[in-house]
């Protein structure tokens, strides 16, 4: 079995927010166990009051949600993990 893939907050960080490191998780659109497609919007985070869609890096199943809805995080924190489908 391949390893689960991280949904990395740094990879969706907006270019014009280079000077900030704090984010806020506004919404999850999936639960643990949800099947997702690569590129699908699975959540919404806020950096400097701007909303940014969090997209799935791969096809697969969400195995873990690591930052809860309403939670704060630092750039580079892993938001969730997705087990790629075979």
């Amino acid at each position: 079995m391949t390893d689960a893939i991280d949904v990395d907050s740094a990879s969706v960080w907006p270019d014009d927010a280079d000077d900030v490191d704090e984010g806020y998780l506004a919404n999850w659109f999936v639960r643990e166990g949800s099947a997702v497609d690569e590129g699908e919007t699975i959540g919404e985070m806020q950096v400097e009051k701007v909303s940014i869609d969090v997209t799935a890096p791969t096809n697969g199943t969400v195995t873990e949600i690591l930052v809860a809805e309403g939670g704060e995080f630092t750039r580079g924190d892993v938001l969730a993990r997705i087990q790629p489908s075979a």
Partner: protein, 346 residues
Amino acid sequence: MATESRDYTEATETDRELTMSRAMVEAIAWEMRENEEVFYMGEDVADYGGIFSSTTGLLDEFGRDRVMDVPISETAYLGAAVGAAQAGMRPIAELMFVDFFGVAMDQIYNNMAKNTYMSGGSFSVPMVLTTAVGGTYNDAGQHSQTLYGTFAHLPGMKVVVPSTAYDAKGLMHSAIRDDDPVVYMFHKRLMGLGWMPSPPGPKTGVPEEDYTIPFGEADIKRHGSDVTVVTLGLHVHRALDAASQLEDDGIDAEVVDLRTLVPLDTETILDSVRKTGKLLVVDEDYQSFGVTGEIIARAAEGALDDLSAVKRLAIPDVPIPYARSLEDEVNPGTDDIAAAIRELHE
């Protein structure tokens, strides 16, 4: 074309859950793809994506011709929507806050709502008027009203008030396809905005395909046998919270979400009242001459013999005040609802 509305729990068991705003936008985008005649206009609906995210992403997909920012001239552009609808198009026009209807009411209630009737049915006005409603974030008297009763009172417009993402999408498909003017009133607090967090509840599973929810079908969001709570919008969630608080005390409340005021699903209300005998109506609009009075009147007309107790909670006939302590006082809260249910149950 459309999947008919299905069993709610089954339909919402999807892998994804959407906020109400995203569910609304998904329906609008679907209709815009299917039908060239559908277009959207309002203030800050293009680049901004709607102050309450009612149009996020639409500009990118459909361009400025179909997602139009318009001058702060509500009379002109709401009236223009009426004219475009009469010409056969299917405009969606957004009034940023329902409180602003005052500057354009003539177009709404003398043109939009009456032209079908006054033309003897030779004209129809297939437009949707979308608008944000409600308080709870201390924006004071000119930005916090719901005005549900005002629109529902004036004949000729259908009035839709979704409380969940699932309902929001199905009702939006129905609204755009409807041949009559539909006022689609979305509560700001339910949209799932990062900057105005929603309570849990409005975010639900939403099927990816299109589906309609017929107007005039209330939805029983919680089944119960002791007290009927009839409500709409934000207060569906407050009533559900109150009902679960009371569970431990052995009080079993039924929560009826009206979903549309015009047409009104009187049957579902009467059935519930016949079962429980006790009716609480909760509304975020002004108390007098409004939704609460209407629901109670229908219950009295249709099920008087079954009714043993009646109560209502609404804004007590004052403009919405600014300060937090004052707004909380006048806007029925979960505890107020729980107390009222308890009182009815005794």
